[in-house]
Each structure stands twice: as structure tokens, then as C-alpha cells.
């Protein structure tokens, strides 16, 4: 799982993550997330119509959405999570399109976007925790959502942080420099950490596949 578009353009001294890169990432990740959320909602509806329906992603006891979709965690806010996903990822893709088309947003818009992606990444990590340690199963489509939400949050954050370069105390400026300078490495480390947790939690299962 490599991070997308770690290209060589836009290597300006202080702008590591330019608008074009952010826009492309938001469109790509937003559309993938949207597709996963739609599939999850359709599977959920099938399951509601026919309780004996076996979701297409029920591969094994560990890799299964059937057991995950029917938990209370799948309706964390009283409505099925995929509904939140469809609205959220559609918004992400549209914002990405606007950024790519050259739209400049006022500061409050970026504040709102930051609040949104922060909510998303916190929610997704709660879901990762629930999936791994409480439910004990992995739902493949949900993992697609995890996989796109982390880069969406990360690159939106790095993009926004760039505006604070120079105007803050030294320690903060240095942190921002590291985050922006090593954005790809940090994202990779983050994703690898989640993969390692998944590998460790279901170690016996992975061994049984060998």
C-alpha cells in the first residue's frame, strides 16, 4: 500500500504538498471511499431485506462484513455508517475537484474541511479499534474506507499546516517542517502501523493461510 502520487513536481522549498496534488488525491481517495460506502450500504440493505443473505465480502470468519455490519458499532450515530460515508466522501471528491479546478477557498472553508477530515480520521480509528479488538473480524470494504481516510486526513492537514510555516514558535515550526518535508514517509509509517496491528491481531489466521 504505497501512498499516491509521490511525484517529483511541486518541489518548491516550502510547498511540499501543492494544490494540484491535494486536489488529485482528494478526488481519487474520495471516489474510492464513495464506492466502498455505496457497496456497504447496498449490502446492508440486502441484509435487511433478507436476513439470510450472505454478503459478497464474507470470505472467512475473519474476513467478513456480515458479522461486522450487524454490530451496534456499524450504526455508531444511530444511522448506518455508510450513509455518513456516502455524504462525506462525495464532499471530499467535490472539494478535490474544486481545488484542482483552481478554486481558492477562504480560510474558514479550510477550517471546516480540517474539522471534517479530523472527525473522519478519529471515527475511522475508533472503528479500527472496534473491528480488531471488540468485534474481532475484518470487513474488506470497511478497510478500503480506512485506507483512503488516512491519506485524506493527512494530506489535508499537511496542506493546511503549510500556511503556518514561519509564523509560529520554533518547536511548532520545526514540527511542521518535518510533517511537510516527510509527508510521504510519515503516512507510510502510519499505514504500516495499522497493517502491523492487523497482522498481529489475527496472526494465527494469517498463519493458517500459509
Amino acid at each position: 500500500m504505497t501512498e499516491t502520487a509521490a511525484g517529483s513536481e511541486a518541489d518548491f522549498a516550502h510547498v511540499q504538498v501543492g494544490a494540484r496534488r491535494l486536489g488529485a488525491l482528494l478526488i481519487g481517495a474520495g471516489l474510492i471511499g464513495l464506492a466502498a460506502a455505496i457497496v456497504l450500504l447496498v449490502e446492508k440493505l440486502e441484509l435487511l431485506v433478507n436476513p439470510d443473505y450472505i454478503p459478497t465480502c464474507d470470505v472467512s470468519p475473519i474476513l467478513s462484513c456480515g458479522s461486522v455490519m450487524t454490530t451496534p458499532q456499524a450504526e455508531a450515530f444511530g444511522i448506518p455508517n455508510p450513509i455518513i460515508g456516502i455524504a462525506g466522501f462525495a464532499a471530499v471528491a467535490v472539494v478535490g475537484g474544486a481545488v484542482l479546478a483552481g478554486s481558492g477557498f477562504r480560510r474558514w472553508f479550510w477550517v471546516g474541511a480540517q474539522v471534517g477530515v479530523t472527525f473522519a480520521v478519529v471515527f475511522v480509528h475508533w472503528l479500527i479499534y472496534q473491528s480488531l479488538y471488540v468485534i474481532g473480524a475484518l470487513c474488506p470494504y470497511c478497510m478500503v474506507v480506512w485506507a483512503v481516510t488516512i491519506p485524506i486526513f493527512w494530506y489535508t492537514t499537511v496542506y493546511n499546516l503549510q500556511h503556518f510555516q514561519g509564523s509560529t514558535p520554533r518547536w511548532a515550526r520545526q514540527s511542521i517542517e518535518i510533517a511537510t518535508g516527510y509527508h510521504g514517509v510519515l503516512l507510510t509509517a502510519w499505514v504500516l502501523l495499522v497493517i502491523t496491528l492487523i497482522a498481529a491481531r489475527f496472526w494465527d489466521y494469517w498463519i493458517s493461510l500459509m
Binding site: S8, D11, S67, P72, I135, H183, V185, M210
Partner: protein
């Protein structure tokens, strides 16, 4: 190649190699004792699995979750079957907690079992599930109340509920369930064969058949 890409690839390479190496190493480790075959990793029934009856002619296993609707619906059926066949069939309960409070409920049942009262707690949990089920808050205290009403030693009950070994046995049960392909509850086994009854009569016929073998 930018430094971001190069470092990321290096990181992926290192973690990938470590994980792959451990996986290969562990799977070799695993295969040697398995070849001898003296210690199967998963068991349908374990020595410490709670029993509802001690009959010796057949073994009936139910993987259940005290909070699951299907298990609640099956509960009176199992009670009837126990009445009828309990002296000949061993009814074993195994945990497969899937809901908010089902782990707490399973812990309560196991802690009651430590005091020889599994059956009483099992019945109490199903009888009063409309009071504690489908709540997002922990019902652990409700279960302590049940223990008290059942005349159990409450301090010992609390200690057993909080004992990591109790949780470990439930986790073990869940892992066994997964190893046997149990993905939902209730899932039934009779003499090691998975049952998929479509009616109560069906279930009874399977038990009759096992007893007449």
C-alpha cells in the same frame, strides 16, 4: 526519486520483510507439532466449557451470545430438549459474544459457573434480556445484582468476572468458534457435526438419530 518516495519504499521493504519472515518462521514452527497431532489448536468443546446437562450418549454444543435474538428464541427450545434428553445428551454451551454486553454476560455466566451456578445464571440472563440487552452502556453491575439474587458470593463473583483468565476462556471459545467456521449465533453442533435445523422437529429428529446410532 524524491526522498519521500525512497524512504517510504525502504520502510515498506523493512516492515514487509519482518512480517513475512515472522510469518514463514511461525508457520514452520506451527507445522511441526501439528504433524505429531497431539495438540489440536482448536477444540469444539473444552474441559472447562460449561455444561447444562451431563448425559453421555451424545454431545450437543451451542455457540451462543446471550444478547442475540436467535439465541433467545432458541432458549425455550433448548430448555425443552434438556428436559427430554438431558439424561442422555451432554448439552454444552460455548461463548461467541458479538454484541455490546455479550462479553459482560458471558463473564457473568462463567463467574457463576465458578460457584457451580452456571445454569441459574444462564437462565437468568435469557429470562431478563429485555432489561439488559441492547444497551450501549455496560451492564456489568446489573449482572452483579443477578449474582446477588441467585445467592452467590458477590465478592468472589466480582473477582472472577475481573479475572483475566475468565476473559481468556471466553476469547478461547470465540477463537474455537472461528476455527470451526462459526460466523454467527446460535450455531449448533451434535457429535461434532454442524446442525442446520429448519424446525424444532428437525432438531429433535437429529438428536433422536444420534441417540439411536
Amino acid at each position: 526519486m524524491s526522498k519521500n518516495l525512497a524512504l517510504s519504499l525502504a520502510l515498506i521493504g523493512v516492515v514487509g520483510l519482518i512480517l513475512a519472515g515472522m510469518l514463514v518462521w511461525n508457520s514452520q514452527d506451527e507445522s511441526s507439532p501439528e504433524a505429531v497431532g497431539d495438540e489440536p489448536t482448536a477444540q469444539l468443546v473444552r474441559e472447562d466449557s460449561p455444561r447444562l446437562s451431563e448425559g453421555e450418549e451424545a454431545v450437543f454444543v451451542e455457540y451462543l451470545d446471550f444478547e442475540c435474538e436467535g439465541c433467545l428464541a432458541l432458549y425455550p427450545v433448548i430448555e425443552d430438549l434438556r428436559d427430554k434428553y438431558g439424561d442422555r445428551v451432554e448439552f454444552v454451551v460455548r461463548h461467541m459474544p458479538l454484541h455490546d454486553n455479550s462479553v459482560n454476560a458471558a463473564l457473568a455466566a462463567e463467574a457463576a459457573a465458578e460457584q457451580g451456578e452456571f445454569e441459574a445464571m444462564y437462565q437468568r440472563l435469557f429470562d431478563s434480556v429485555d432489561q439488559w440487552g441492547h444497551q450501549s452502556t455496560s451492564q456489568a453491575e446489573t449482572f452483579v445484582g443477578y449474582a446477588d439474587e441467585l445467592g452467590l458470593d458477590v465478592d468472589r463473583f466480582r473477582a472472577d468476572v475481573n479475572d483475566p483468565a475468565t476473559l481468556a476462556s471466553i476469547e478461547q471459545s470465540r477463537q474455537d468458534a472461528q476455527a470451526f467456521g462459526v460466523t454467527g449465533t446460535p450455531t449448533l453442533f451434535l457429535d461434532g457435526q454442524r446442525l442446520e435445523p429448519t424446525s424444532v422437529a428437525d432438531l429433535e429428529a437429529s438428536i433422536e438419530a444420534a441417540l439411536n446410532d
